[in-house]
Symmetry: D2
Subunit: 419 residues, 4 copies
Amino acid sequence: MAALPEPKTGDPSLGERYRHVRGLSEALVAPLSDADATVQSMDDASPAKWHLAHTTWFFETFVLRDHVAGYQRHDERFPFLFNSYYEAEGRRHARARRGMITRPTLDEVHGYRAAVDAALLDALPKLPEAARELVALGCHHEEQHQELLVTDMLHLFGENPLEPAIWPAARKVPVAMPGPIGWNERGESVVEVGHAGEGFAFDCEGPRHRALLAPHALADRTVTNGEWAAFIADGGYATPRWWLADGWAWVQREGVGAPLYWEHRDGLWTRFGLDGRRAIDPAAPVTHVSFYEADAYASWAGARLPTEFEWEAAAASHDPVGGNQLDRAGAVEPRPASEGPAFFGDVWEWTGSAFRPYPGFRPVEGAVGEYNGKFMSGQFVLRGGSCATPRGHARASYRNFFYPHQRWQFTGVRLAKDL
Amino acid sequence: MAALPEPKTGDPSLGERYRHVRGLSEALVAPLSDADATVQSMDDASPAKWHLAHTTWFFETFVLRDHVAGYQRHDERFPFLFNSYYEAEGRRHARARRGMITRPTLDEVHGYRAAVDAALLDALPKLPEAARELVALGCHHEEQHQELLVTDMLHLFGENPLEPAIWPAARKVPVAMPGPIGWNERGESVVEVGHAGEGFAFDCEGPRHRALLAPHALADRTVTNGEWAAFIADGGYATPRWWLADGWAWVQREGVGAPLYWEHRDGLWTRFGLDGRRAIDPAAPVTHVSFYEADAYASWAGARLPTEFEWEAAAASHDPVGGNQLDRAGAVEPRPASEGPAFFGDVWEWTGSAFRPYPGFRPVEGAVGEYNGKFMSGQFVLRGGSCATPRGHARASYRNFFYPHQRWQFTGVRLAKDL
Amino acid sequence: MAALPEPKTGDPSLGERYRHVRGLSEALVAPLSDADATVQSMDDASPAKWHLAHTTWFFETFVLRDHVAGYQRHDERFPFLFNSYYEAEGRRHARARRGMITRPTLDEVHGYRAAVDAALLDALPKLPEAARELVALGCHHEEQHQELLVTDMLHLFGENPLEPAIWPAARKVPVAMPGPIGWNERGESVVEVGHAGEGFAFDCEGPRHRALLAPHALADRTVTNGEWAAFIADGGYATPRWWLADGWAWVQREGVGAPLYWEHRDGLWTRFGLDGRRAIDPAAPVTHVSFYEADAYASWAGARLPTEFEWEAAAASHDPVGGNQLDRAGAVEPRPASEGPAFFGDVWEWTGSAFRPYPGFRPVEGAVGEYNGKFMSGQFVLRGGSCATPRGHARASYRNFFYPHQRWQFTGVRLAKDL
Amino acid sequence: MAALPEPKTGDPSLGERYRHVRGLSEALVAPLSDADATVQSMDDASPAKWHLAHTTWFFETFVLRDHVAGYQRHDERFPFLFNSYYEAEGRRHARARRGMITRPTLDEVHGYRAAVDAALLDALPKLPEAARELVALGCHHEEQHQELLVTDMLHLFGENPLEPAIWPAARKVPVAMPGPIGWNERGESVVEVGHAGEGFAFDCEGPRHRALLAPHALADRTVTNGEWAAFIADGGYATPRWWLADGWAWVQREGVGAPLYWEHRDGLWTRFGLDGRRAIDPAAPVTHVSFYEADAYASWAGARLPTEFEWEAAAASHDPVGGNQLDRAGAVEPRPASEGPAFFGDVWEWTGSAFRPYPGFRPVEGAVGEYNGKFMSGQFVLRGGSCATPRGHARASYRNFFYPHQRWQFTGVRLAKDL
């Protein structure tokens, strides 16, 4: 989990930041029973309890164990259980069997968190700068897991035939249907992309470098549920010509005919969400679509997906902490735009760019260095952050990545066109 | 779940019987957290919560719904969740996804049990005889699930790298190592087998009929852990000639080298049990072996498995409620024999008989009739009951059955020989 | 491949027998191209070339290598390729990869056969009795493979969308539709079953022993295609109550809705056969049904499958070399009965008996001893022989066996009933 | 199979070109028996007969059927058999079952080829320009299949335990071991990449466009077998830190420990090739490595794979018809460089670039338009051509592509470094 240098971690507010991040995780799991927090609903997802413990293990291992003399592990058996994929940190429990860990209980995991929090906050004032950077890194790491926490909880509840709601529905402000997509054109240009070296960033966001953009137009908003319903009605999922070969095979094999969580009931498209099952909002951005679906939709619409650098160049002038992002526990969901173009929040936007290293990328040495580089094959980049992304976590250079069939995140689509 | 006629259900003690059976289920799950009771550790196993609810659904459906006017389902959504395989009772949740049901919670399932118990005990005095027979049948049904409850709990805890104990270890009475196997010989004879028509029995135990036994000898005790360790030490799991072809393929594919739950640690064979991981007791009956292993062991020992009728003829004169069977919640396990030959308790004994219908067998009409007949292919008969079988549940004619690779039940081996 | 003692192999006609059997194999493959003889159409089937070579390897190994001084293997590399499953004979090519062996060519395999034939016929007069018995055993072994040769060829051609015919259709003699099934009743009786010790038999047919039959009735003919079409029309494949649980799962998983090779075309049931695709003959015995289908049909018909001993007791008085069996290469198929009841030929008849050892069964020592005993789990016994069984190969005690889902052999159904 | 405009197809030599291409295919299969040409050794590979027929179907369908009035299909059943993946051309035989097609025979497929050749050469003089372009496209298409023909034949023979040689070994010219890799450096620069519009190219090679290269160094030769053996000896396949996560999972799952076709025998690394099994040549380029292996090797070597544009910019000044490419049927293999740097021939070079569309890429309308665009996910670009690429087929802009685990093509590695 390598990070680019972040000069400001000496900031006295690091303790505040830590408390805030840790507190949000606790708030997110508040509605969960011990069982809710323990079950793993698919291989891609992890139990809530595991997220709570794994993020704690990160602080315990890379900060307390490595930088606090005399620190005693809270429980010597936990590293085996709660390491995720750090090969250098030794053997670990199989990912697909995380749901077997009924013990330690949720209460015991809360106890683990409390103990590590106490030790860390106690040690914080005396920590060397390198360790403080790891605390900051751990906060960003935990924010990533907060988003997974939300989407994994949603997936689990969606597997229950009773379809229980996790939180009550949010109050909705009526918003007019968005007008047609507007297109922002840009001629050939060399742009600077990647993290600039100020503030925190993950290793894969750098080095900052120049990239050449071809002439193109970028949509001023994302695709809506209503537009997606038109794609379905036009036979989009039954027409091979719109699909990549791998995507078409996936559609056939999995019997896909709509975004994840959509069901047609009583003549109406509904979706399952954190507030239970409800009718789709035609004005809201479509979400829970895979890269394959996003690409097929774009073909059907006579467009394509943007490259990650087209997106980044356009987003650079927008406020990364604006928009519909995660502020507190509750039934977040993508919302209709009530104002002008936004690049951050609502849904992660699939790009047409494979997740590959930037020129000059080099993994950091040591266990934290395993973070992003090893995933640089087979996945596509998503940009922008979603309604489940903790506000402040995303930025213009942020690169999220998933396999092209995955869609349990809040993933959506912005179109682009060649000029 | 068809039963042969049982004339005595008019017995005033049916309410007592019901209370006792229901209470034992509750006692067995007492050590479980909500999460422990919710997770499904493999497709063959079910969550404890599911066992608790499914047995309740059985009473609610076949007694209250069918025989109590005006009964209102406790929750209309439960039949979909808690029907097991009764096709005639409609669609149901996929068996392999039972572990997704984090809601209803364990507490809610206890509430479901309490409500059905109250309604049933209230209705009991006025129930017609047919309904009373179904109550009795439901008690036997729940006893079957109690054994599964114990073995499924064991399996779940065995999947946890922490290997938690469910109950404290029982006090052990020192017992001498058993002597060599003694052989009871019997010449050709025609015997009566199958349920005799007195007392309860499942449909597959009848009709009672004559069977011809060939001359044979039957071991006077089951194979011990110590003997099994000798089989391993002699390369038993690495020598194809002892194995059925299907068994050898299973050993190779699964990498099997010892009974389930055995591990070699620090030069010692250990086993995981309800009381955690401990050294094996060489004097105790081996358990958690598959039919394939049982058959291979018998070949290695120059013997064979008994037929189910050889076993039944020998067991008929033994007390079916004696031996090491389940009386109360706790860390049961097979124990060294401290006295003479026993046919009941400790371990289910694999026979060489495929589970097939008796002459004249006919499934009962209706949903309960789906019970046993539909499983009559591919499985082998086990006889005798185990340390996890509720005392009183088994009898000489009782036919348990599992697939030849399954071994998470308390399954063991008694040898036989042709004369 | 253990055989029971066969005192008459000193017969001077052994050479004739050998020549006849070997010649029939050659005749059967005459229509095949090199490619036809090489491809493996599924894991259960073997290439024709493999059958030709494997049966030759058997004679070369157990007769020439073991009993003829100075014999040099035709090709030292062949044992690895053409051993089937004799663990004691060393490592061998994976069964599922038999279709990769494009070399040696079909011509080279014919050359292998010719060389072994020459060596064996040359050695025959001087062979000791034990070796002559192995020659006789090898002939029976090759007859078994002749039946597989026919059914594997049929399967391969059935996989070709062009559906080529292997042989021209046989001339058909018009026969009246069979009347309703007649039932032959039999009271409880003790019968002798198993091979009697005269003539050749495979090890699994013995020892001869007594068996007790319950009162029952046995159908006087097998089920016809017309009757099977009525089962389909009545929703037989869509009604779970007729099916064993494993069978129902198989139907669902594989999408089974008719016997193998049946297709509904232009409103008509057709079947693919050795003479290509043609309309089914409603008067002919149904074939290519699995045990699961046979059992479901019997349930639907209010009957059951016979036990293997009910069948054997009834068949004992019938001529085992009569009926529609394989005499020469050509488009054999089950035919409508033009005369009285027959137990041999047309179709193998599924019994309700699991393939298990008889009392006193003991595998012969050595590599040939691996023959039948190791398959005694999970399979069901079939009796009677089919139109693809070389005439003279079957007998009343003959036990064929397959897994309950397999149906590429000529397998059919005779009903029985409890009295 | 869309092509960019190729103005020169009016060339009178199109007939010569057609005859030459078609003739090479026939020469390549000359050593094959009917069986060799029929068997499919894995899902990724196709039978030689299928390649011969599919390339013929292409000409028959898109030229003769669409542009020659009154043309009658050679066989109406062939389109179903020999269409590859053109959804717009209707249903087709399942890819994984291509090896079932023992009929038509190899001779009949040769007959199909002869008939289509005659019809096409007859029609050629009168064909409109659009049709002539399709003939030229069909020639390039057949060249692609020639390479697959060679590698699929190699794979099939490699599956045969006898490891037959397809052709005799080529005479080897002794060459000195190559010296250490030299590095060609290049500063940041904007280059033109993609097909320039002169001569033939596949649709995915265009449009030509500008790309920005970061400062880098490119190796002056590919990695050798000797260098690869050092990687193995250093534990390369057992050290997770060199591997992408997907690659490490692949290594573990498949038990990979060396390039495909390598085996360690008698203390020596050997490889299977078109001339049978022989010792590796340490001076020759390593081949039959996957992208995962190539990437791991590069990490181990402190380098990375080049981007496709770094490669193209460097290769642009090299002769695309030079080097070790396919001229005639025979045992081709990568050879030690006897002269200066070469970019074409020997081995396809894995790049670090995902196979994605160029700016402005647009699939051609119609069935041929399905050609390349639909494969633009999950695959990586390879550049340069191999010893099995027909000379004249490759060029600097040519983009080959395979999944990162595939390695039955002649695939190798050239290193690059960031500056």
